[in-house]
Symmetry: D2
């Protein structure tokens, strides 16, 4: 269980956008992310609670998707230990120099894991002013910080082994398929003391289903729904607001103007105890996805973000899973 290194938390994610100005209008002017820095090809954003340079990078690109996502580790020694582990496992990795990513300090390790995901590990990032008590800067969704990545992939059970046994993640909740011989269908795994830093769900992949961002409270999500509905972003709300069964969080799923998906998320629980016993759900439980029984739209299962291969720089091809990739109760339309 102790992997010999310390992954601290989900650290940041890079969204590819085709129009930086349009993306800025959505993320900054409307949702209220704080701009740490900007150049001609990138906008680096943080939340009100963040004390470091970025948790979300918007990068100009010909088509949408995810450039990479990254975990923060405790020290550079941890990077070296991860590099060794990845190398032994036969996966691709390369060192990233601080100069390659604005805000990074010291080196980072970019990995293409066995499932095809572009995963960066880094230890240090430039410090930024804390906006937590700058309530005069609170806007839109009152985004506090990045919370988690939700990955969709054909073999969630195998990736579970990698994250838990090799990378030291702890499982807080699972979903299993129905029937006498249930398979692991999804898992919520954490390093920091919340419900999760990463979720692994069964579906066509490798794709990133969404990135979850913590917001101030339930009211902020309601207010944000009202705001988006008044700001020309009506069709950017895909699912919710509602209460999750898994995680117990209050949520709203958004699609940015390029279709990249993010979740506004608040109200999960403290998971600090190492003797935590995972909460188990069945795939067809009507309260699993939305505790209030509201059905999930089909698009939520069909669509997700392609990911770039760190090796080739191209989007990874996707494969379908061998098991059912969704519950039985979807609706067509929201």
């Amino acid at each position: 269980m102790n992997p010999g290194f310390n992954i601290v938390k989900a650290g940041h994610i890079e969204f590819l956008v085709t129009d930086l100005d349009r993306a800025r209008q959505f993320y900054v002017d409307t949702l209220g992310f704080v701009v740490s820095s900007q150049d001609s090809d990138h906008i680096f954003l943080r939340g009100l609670e963040d004390r470091q340079h970025h948790c979300l990078t918007l990068s100009r690109a010909p088509s949408p998707g995810v450039g990479h996502f990254a975990f923060k580790v405790a020290s550079e020694d941890d990077l070296n230990a991860i590099e060794k582990l990845v190398s032994v496992a036969g996966a691709y990795s390369r060192w990233v120099d601080a100069s390659e990513e604005t805000g990074l300090q010291g080196k980072a390790l970019m990995v293409e894991d066995a499932y095809g995901f572009p995963v960066e590990f880094y230890a240090k990032m430039k410090a930024e002013d804390w906006m937590l008590q700058r309530y005069d800067r609170y806007r839109g969704a009152k985004v506090m910080r990045l919370d988690h990545f939700n990955l969709m992939l054909p073999d969630a059970a195998r990736a579970y082994e990698w994250y838990v046994n090799s990378l030291g993640f702890i499982c807080t909740e699972t979903t299993e398929t129905e029937g006498p011989h249930p398979s692991l269908w999804a898992a919520w795994l954490r390093r920091k003391h919340t419900c999760h830093d990463i979720a692994l769900t069964t579906g066509k992949g490798p794709r990133v289903h969404h990135a979850g961002f913590t917001v101030a409270d339930r009211g902020a999500i309601m207010d944000c729904a009202d705001l988006l509905a008044s700001s020309g972003y009506l069709d950017r709300m895909e699912r919710g607001p509602g209460r999750h069964g898994v995680s117990n969080a209050f949520f709203l799923y958004l699609r940015d103007p390029d279709g990249n998906r993010l979740e506004l998320y608040t109200g999960d629980y403290l998971s600090s105890d190492p003797d935590w016993v995972p909460i188990k759900w069945k795939l067809n439980d009507p309260q699993r996805q939305t505790f209030w029984g509201t059905k999930t739209p089909e698009s939520w299962f069909n669509e997700a973000m392609l990911v770039k291969s760190p090796r080739s720089g191209e989007f990874q091809a996707v494969k379908a899973p061998s098991i059912k990739d969704r519950p039985d109760y979807l609706i067509s339309g929201r």
Copy 2:
């Protein structure tokens, strides 16, 4: 516009239920209505803000529906004036003695209006303790008071004339059909200074679509959704929580164990000014019903409560409207 009498507000409604104990568990133990009195065939309920005996009567009956709904008037003189108006209009009415309805004081007038609805008018009701600052009594949905009746009927435009020109209601909002020759499809009419005391909507009728009850705030509606989902009432939530376009209110629609429909409702506006210009909506505006664009389930348009004829004591037969009875964007399922 001044009808020579003063209707104060939507006063109370009688829901027919087939199992009083089951209904009590839903309305009292779960939603938190306050019981003013109870006999073998009725439970008389009020909200936390009410200072009078009841705003909701549950009456044991062989099948669900609405026994009658009632408007409070300023004085007994107003009752006499309304009796005269109704008589001239050729509608059925009869005097109700205070002994016929627990809590009533003085006489009431029971009318079967030209549209077939059982409408009571009354001036005085027994005083009860105010629970507004008895926060130790707050439960469930924190129901404050009755807000409005929503009626479904084939000819909303004709009923509009009756309510506005004869009864002195003021129109706050309307919905019109699409196209070059729009018809009035629905109207929101008020006596008290809120969005409405009564809504008239086009559909099979005469039926009561729902009764709306004001709750403390948006948080109370969210909390109530969580509570119902934990209390075996998952399938009793039909639509919402969400924000209305019309009325701007935050809402959740419920079906009681018999299928009678009520709305938890909060956050409309002050409409005190006699020079209020009605807000106009088009039937297919995606933000009209739910400001966030969420679609309405079919059941919401198909199902409504039958009403008892004051004359025959039987349920009124229903007729279909000659114009379209719903927008184009419904979904099948919630």
Copy 3:
């Protein structure tokens, strides 16, 4: 009780400010009032729910205070009836031409009542866009509309007679002094269907203690406290946030940069019924002012806004009341 005319509601108030730019920064940039128009000497403001030109006027003046406050009436006929009443009562009044106050339409009546207050009555005002569903315009305290005026004067009991018997106000709550022979110490009076349009309280006067503005909900008041504390306005919060006993409203009292006092207010009750029985409080009840028992700072009783005489254009001289002007439980400091 029926005075032969119809006062609709508390309509607007004029605050005198010594620095318009500084006032704009407070009211518009921070609290989020909507600017309807502005000239070199005035800023005309409305709330998000208002459909008319202004509910608050900021007027450049050598020293702070209240220029006038105004009630909206239903029609110009009502203005004539009030002029007659005032004239019979021997009070000063004059007709105000629409050109004298931006936004006014038709004439208005400016009265100096027997207690020295500058009270305007008007029927019509320029229509403005409704911002209620322009959630992209919501800022700061999310001010919805003007709710009430709170007046401080030596003889509240006598003014009570004028407002109730001559002007047709309805009493919702009262405060009486302690002891075997209690006097009326304060009264809350309404025309619209809320707790009050005007409160009359015992103290040095004539002065306006504060104007109360309705905000979206309890959360908006909390958020506003955080915002003011982050915006250099820490010392502009005088009392609260808290829950009132009288009115049951949630509140925060502010002093603008000139010391004029306003209340952010939300969550009172519907008072539509003409047979409402007033709620009675005793002056020393520890839950009367703040339901949670928190004591009120001395400044809240000592300080209030001077009012201009419509006759002389000078501030009215103030007189002390013959009865005790405050409860026994004050604190020095907040």
Copy 4:
């Protein structure tokens, strides 16, 4: 910094109460703590989010105070390592058998630290049903879990060294005295990823100032204030509701019927990063204690809970600090 063992979090605290029935009425019937078990001398309570037997024990005793407080560690090995550390440091400790404390599993270590506090360390506790999604069980303050202990002692700086250097706590915030040669006046230290598990503040001690319990959200604190004010507990609210500067949390301080102090607390931040730079405050900063500038009552500095010596079973004698024990801006009264 790595002490060779792993303290997980603040685990539970034992409050001494003189009347168990009266205490149950306050903690269970009003605040809504969940009862895990009860015997003639104790009530064992947990929060809605807790999955283990207790976070608060009420023990019948001749006078109020704190019996002990406890940290959860990751394993029994950690207990052995702490025993060794404590023994080397010359402090008193003894092994507690699981049979001595209902709910404990395996042994625990009871320490009297160098500052006189009764600190228990334990690894395992009986599992209990999770109430997080049993919204039908939510009551009163919606207490989720224990968050922190706040200790008052004459030499906070020395205790800081013990907690950080020997026990492996991480400092998130500090308060220093004013002047050219500031002393550490208070420190907030954490093991779990929140603002703190323990606060060390300068004052007469050893005493426990309060135990902080996490509640669902800001609304739960407001609702609880209304509830307490309606339930005969008006004088049990000592300070708040308000927003802290330190921790940024929303709070309400309560005194139980015996005078033991607890804090309802919500809305601090994620502190997972080992490279966190402590936030620094000065003792007299008016926004340090309450971000809105509201002054703290004297009782909050004068009164705190005596602690029992694990060695003698008697309350520890208290000593005054050599430096100032409070800021300059207190008020007498609330």
